[in-house]
Every structure is written in C-alpha cells, then in structure tokens.
C-alpha cells in the first residue's frame, strides 16, 4: 500500500507526451520518429497503469488490461514502421523523411 500525488504522475505523462511530440516534429530520421511515437504511447500506458492503480476494485483491472493491450499494439506498430522504413531505404537509400517529399501542393 502506498500513496501518490496524482499531479506528479500527470506531470510526468504530460512531459513524456510532449517529448514524443517534440521528436515527431523536429526529427527527420524515420527511426527517431518511431522512437518518438513510442515515447508518446508510453505516456498513455503510464496513465492507464496509474489510473488503474487508484481506480478501485474492477476498474483497476480494466486499466491494467488496457495497458497490456496497448503495449502489444505499440510493439506491432514499430514492426510495421520498420517494414516501411526498410522498403523505403531499399528504394531511395535514405530514411530522411524530409527528403521523401515529392507529393506536395
């Protein structure tokens, strides 16, 4: 049994989301983008786990179950992202997303 101030945890997850978004906005390397997205999703997982912890009897289990599923989903997404990276790299020899900008206006 332990107690937490919610503000701190929300601050942490908010900060992690922001860091993730910051990475998505400013990095150009596709793999770094993948990592940024993972950080952002981890912020959501953290929220679920945290809210589960103080939500009471059944809700808590639900929260943890959601966290399990979201972790699995995020891993799947990374795999798909990597597949796209590899295909793109084979074709263009570069994984800089700013260079793949032929479709515009």
């Amino acid at each position: 049994m332990s107690a937490f101030s919610p503000a701190g945890l929300l601050a942490l997850s908010g900060a992690l989301l922001s860091i993730g978004l910051f990475g998505i906005l400013t990095r150009r390397n596709f793999i770094l983008l993948l990592i940024s997205i993972e950080i952002a999703i981890n912020a959501a997982v953290l929220n679920f786990v945290y809210f589960a912890a103080f939500a009471g009897a059944t809700g808590g289990l639900t929260g943890q179950a959601i966290a399990v599923v979201v972790i699995g989903l995020a891993a799947t997404e990374v795999a798909v992202g990597l597949a796209i990276v590899l295909a793109l790299n084979r074709l263009r020899g570069s994984i800089n997303v700013a260079e793949a900008a032929t479709l515009k206006f």
């Binding site: 978004l21 400013t26 206006f105």
Partner: protein, 661 residues
C-alpha cells in the same frame, strides 16, 4: 367549365413534352445532324406544349382564381418532440394558379415561335442537335419553374434554367468571347443563386420552425397548405431576419433578371445565337427573377425595408440601363439594355406592391421584346453584322422586318394603344398613386418617368440607323432580302401580339389571370394627366431620335472644338422643343459614360476582386501542403493545441458571451 378542368390535370404534360423532345433530339439528333428533323421534332413538341399551355390558361380563365395543386412527397424527415419539433418535407408538385397560367402562356407561345424561327435562322450552323436539345430542355426548365408548388422545387428548375442558359450563351464555344460570356453569366448569376438559396433557408428557418406559417407549410417549403385560397396575401411579418431573407430574394432575382449591380452578364450574353437572346435573355428566363419576386410577395410578403430596396433597385436599373442603350452601336446590345431597363420597371412595380401590374408588364414585354429580337435577328441574318452604323436603308429591301421592328419599337416605347403603353402606364400610374403615402419612392419614380423618354429615343435611334436612309453605310454588306416563311410567320404573330396583347386585359376573363388588376387597367383616377405626360415624353424621344438620326443622318457628338459643337447645336436646335436641348443630351451621354465606367471598372472589378481573393486564398493555403511529413505532424499538434484551447477556454467563454447553449 367542365372540359377545361381536365386541362389542369394536363399541366404536367407541358414540361414533360419538351423534356421528351430534349431526349429524342439529344440522343438521336447527333446521327442526323444534316437532316433538320431534330428541329422539326422540337418545334412539334413545343407546339403541343403551347396548345396545352393555352388550354390550361383558358381553363384558368373559365374558373377564375382557381388553384390546383397536385404533389408527391420526395424527401421527408419526420419530426420528433424535443430536439426536432417540426420535421422537414420536400414535395415535388404542380401548382396551377392564375399567374402560373399566365406565365405558361408567355413561355410556351414565345418558345414555340422562337423554335419555329430557328429552323431557318440556324440553318447554316453546325451542332444543331445540341441547339434544339438545349432549347427544349430550357423550355422544360422554365415551364417547370412556373409550375413549381414550392420554393425549393422552384430553385431546382431555376438552376436548370441557369445551366441551359450557360450552354446556350456558350453555343459558339470555339469563340473565346462566347466562352467568356458564358463563364461570366455563370459566375454572376451564381452569386444571385446563392443569395436565393440562403433566402429560402432563412424563410424556412423563420416560418417552418415556428409552426405558424401562413403561405408556407410547416416543416416544408410549400407555398401553401393547399387549402389556403390563392392570394391569402402576404402576412407581412416584420423581423430583421425576414428583411434579410427578402433582400436575399431580391439578390436572387437581381442575378437572374439582370438588375443592378448583377446586370453585367446580360449584354455579354448576346454572344449566343439571336434566337437564344430572344427566348432566354429577353422574353422568358430573365422574367424568372421578376416572377420570383412576385411569388414571394404574394405568398410570403416583403417587409417595408425590402420593398424600398426593391423599388430602388428596379427604378435605378430602369434608368441606368436605358442610358447605356442610348450610345451603344450594336443592335442586339441596344435591345439587351432595353431588356434590363424594362425588367427594372417590373421589379419597380412589384417592389411598390403592384405585383400584378408588374406581371402584366412582364406579359406584354415578352411579346414585343421577342419581336424586337427576332426582327433584329432577321436583319443580322440578312446583312451579317450587328453594327448599326454599317446598316441603313433596310426598310426598302426588308419591309416586313422593318415594320415588325417598328411595331416592337412603338410598343416598347409605350406608344398609345400598343401593349407596352397599357402596361407601362399602369406601372407609372399605380406607383404615382402611392407616392402620397410613400414619399421615399419619389426619386425612383422620377427616374422611371425619365426613362420613358430615353426608351423612345434609343429604340427609334436604332430603327432609323438600321432601316432609315437610302442604303447601307457600309457598301460591303451583302444585299439584304426578306427571310423565308418560318422566320416571317413568328414576326407576324408577334407583331399582332405586341400590338394587341395589352388590350387583352380589358377582357374580364383574361384579367382574371392577373387577379386584382382591375379593368380597365390604365384609367384609375387622376393619372390621366400622368398618361399625357408619358405620351408627351414618348413623342419627345421619338422627335429627338428623328432629328438626330432620321432620314439617314448620322449625328456625331463632335469632340473637337466648341465651334463644331455650337454648330451642331445650332444645326439641330431648330428641330426640338424648348427644354430638350443639346445640354440635356450631353448630360445623358455623360451619365451613360459614367454608367459604362461603373460597369466596367467598379462592378467588373469587384467580381474580379472576388475571383482573385478566392484564388489567392486557395494559393496561399496550397503552399501549406509542403510534402514534408514533419510539417503535417506540426499541423496535427497545432490543431490539437487549438482545439484544446477552444474546448477548454474559448468555447465556454463564447457561449457565455453570446448566450447560446
């Protein structure tokens, strides 16, 4: 009564017949472009439509004021208490009432005559199947519009009319000027259409949601519940929202009926074949705007503010367009401006509350304007130019056309006894009678009165230039000759109608098509003096035209020296009466130039400005689409921040301030 009751049941046949012609000619015509059967099919079907139209009108006369509505529900949304009290219903139906019977008469008769005329006139053109198909479709649209039993159906046909007109103006689409004229007509009338549609929805929001909707079925767009007697009358609510709705309707009508400042497209629309000009841009389509105002004034009513706005637009357009006609060298454009001017009269009358009088003028105008256009078409057909200053002396080679044009001109100018005389004087007299209670109409009334003089002047100027004198000024013109019977017959029929149609209203049976107009129309009380003044003005206009242009003279405003001007002044002073001196004319010219300037730079400029604004917006936004995915992500995050602020701070604040929710 008996037999003609059936006629009401036949009314749906009219648009259907022409629609069938459209399909037959449109589908089958292409393969037989050489043979003219497509044209004859269109003529035959429009003849049938005309017969039904006349029967419907006669039936209406035999049962004065009868009102027959038959409709089916097309789209229906049931209401539910709480969130959605009234429901929505859209019907498609046929409504035969006196004024739609009158309009049917106009549209089908003129339509048939113009199609008949086209057989010879368009003989040498290619793409005839397209021409006859589109013209048939136009007739369908126009008669459908007239028979609509609700405002949204009205709007649908209204749009169809606009589309046909777009294609017909651009008939010679290889010609850049024709293509651009079509585009302009499309753009400008579109503005009116949008206003119209907004107006419909405002009326809908005001009336159909309140549940109390005299003249407008609750939850629907229908003109009446079907049980309300015709002319239950405007119920004249007077809220700001209704005023706005009325102004929107005025905007819609101004777009279609070429009223200031949306009139710019009509003169350019003369790029289409002359027959098209006659049918669409003179006799019927442009009348749709006036008809719209009439319908709205009868079923929904205008607020006093709206009325003043309508009177102002109509009165000003009347004068404005007439000044433009005064100087134009193109025979078709002179007539086009006269159309705008005459439509102004009708709008003026409807705005002042004399709906039936406005429709009366619409009725007479359709015939003499079609006549003028067809006569002009006959001239153009013969000499191959539209430039008045190249023509001359044509009355010798084309006596019938000259006579027809003269009859049209007399009727247009309001020569006593002609149909234009009755209707125009009725407008002036009616409005004059209200000036006591509505002094704010005075300036527009004076403009309308002054226009009588200008009208007589410019139309006879055109006649003298084209038909007067000894021979063509441009020797290279081909030798003119009278056209064949398919062109002559419509001229003769329309001449008869141009003279006689106005007098029809003296017949009480016919007058029942214009309920409440009164018989005889023009002699009401103290306006005999007014009639005298107006006849005097016509005489003066005619005299001035004769003095300048009669007998082959060409009056030129000398720009060079004062001496020349004085000489011209002296030379011609002899002819005209005191008060109409050269300075008056000079003033007219100045006004005409100013009007031209306004049209060319201010209005066109505004239209272009809007075009450029949208193009600029579009282009600016386009640059945002950089192709770099990081930027897109930035938009997502920016949007997220925006919506977050909106939802958490701005929206609650807005709701508190505006007081919604």
């Amino acid at each position: 009564m008996s037999g003609f009751d059936v006629a009401f049941g036949w009314a749906w046949l009219i648009p259907t017949l022409t629609a069938v012609a459209f399909v037959i000619v449109g589908v089958g015509g292409r393969r037989m472009a050489r043979l003219e059967w497509g044209g004859w099919v269109a003529v035959a079907f429009s003849f049938a439509a005309m017969v039904v139209g006349i029967l419907v009108a006669i039936g209406e006369m035999l049962a004065p004021g009868s009102y027959t509505d038959s409709s089916v529900t097309w789209i229906s949304i049931p209401g539910s208490p709480g969130t959605f009290p009234n429901g929505v219903q859209l019907d498609i139906g046929i409504l035969v009432d006196p004024i739609s019977a009158l309009m049917l008469l106009v549209v089908t008769v003129v339509g048939f005559l113009v199609l008949l005329y086209s057989i010879e006139y368009m003989h040498h053109d290619s793409g005839l199947a397209r021409y006859y198909a589109e013209l048939s479709l136009f007739l369908t649209a126009m008669t459908g519009l007239v028979l609509s039993d609700n405002l949204l159906e009205f709007f649908l046909f209204w749009e169809l009319v606009g589309v046909c007109s777009y294609f017909l103006i651009g008939f010679y689409y290889e010609k850049p000027s024709a293509a651009s004229a079509a585009k302009e007509a499309f753009l400008v009338t579109r503005v009116g259409d949008v206003l119209f549609l907004l107006g419909i929805f405002i009326y809908f929001a005001v009336y159909a949601t309140s549940g109390s909707a005299p003249g407008w079925a609750a939850g629907g767009f229908k003109f009446t519940n079907g049980s309300a007697p015709f002319l239950a009358g405007a119920m004249g609510g007077n809220t700001p929202l209704l005023t706005v709705a009325g102004l929107m309707m005025l905007g819609g009508a101004a777009g279609k009926s070429a009223q200031f400042p949306l009139h710019v497209w009509l003169p350019d629309a003369m790029e289409g074949p002359t027959t098209v000009s006659a049918l669409i841009h003179a006799a019927t389509m442009v009348a749709a705007g006036v008809y719209l105002l009439a319908v709205v004034s009868l079923f929904l009513g205008f607020t006093p503010t709206d009325q003043l706005a309508i009177v102002a637009v109509g009165g000003f357009t009347t004068f404005f367009a007439a000044t433009m006609a005064v100087v134009n060298p193109d025979i078709k454009r002179v007539i086009a401006y006269s159309t705008i001017s005459q439509l102004g009269y009708m709008v003026f009358a409807v705005g002042a509350g004399f709906t039936m009088v406005g429709l009366y003028h619409l009725f007479t105008h359709a015939f003499f304007k079609a006549l003028l256009f067809l006569a002009a078409g006959s001239v153009i057909h013969a000499v191959g130019t539209q430039d008045l200053f190249k023509m001359g002396g044509l009355r010798k080679t084309m006596p019938l056309t000259a006579a027809a044009f003269a009859i049209g001109a007399l009727s247009l100018s309001g020569f006593p006894g002609s149909s234009g005389f009755f209707s125009k004087d009725d407008i002036l007299g009616s409005v004059y009678a209200t000036l006591g209670t509505h002094p704010q109409y005075w300036p527009f009334f004076l403009l309308a009165l002054l226009t009588v003089f200008l009208t007589a002047y410019y139309i006879f100027r055109a006649w003298f230039l084209a038909f007067g004198g000894d021979g063509p000024r441009d020797a290279t013109l081909p030798h003119a000759h009278e056209p064949g019977w398919t062109m002559r017959l419509p001229l003769v029929v329309l001449s008869a109608l141009a003279i006689g149609a106005g007098a029809l209203v003296f017949d009480p049976a016919f007058a029942s098509l214009l309920p409440g107009i009164g018989v005889p129309p023009t002699f009401r009380g103290a306006d005999l003096a007014l009639s005298a003044v107006s006849v005097g003005l016509v005489a003066c206009g005619f005299g001035l035209a004769y003095s300048f242009w009669g007998g082959g003279r060409v009056f030129e405003l000398s720009e060079s020296t004062w001496a020349a001007r004085v000489r011209a002044l002296l030379l011609h002073r002899y002819y005209f009466k005191a008060g109409y001196d050269w300075i008056g004319l000079r003033a007219t010219y100045t006004v005409a130039r100013a009007a031209d300037f306004v049209e060319r730079y201010v209005i066109d400029g505004t239209v272009r400005g809007f075009e450029r604004l949208f193009a600029g917006l579009s282009d600016g936004l386009r640059r945002v689409q950089t192709g770099v995915v990081s930027d897109y992500a930035a938009y997502v995050v920016g949007g997220l921040v925006g919506f977050l602020l909106l939802l958490v701070f701005l929206a609650p604040w807005l709701l508190q301030t505006v007081g919604g929710g």
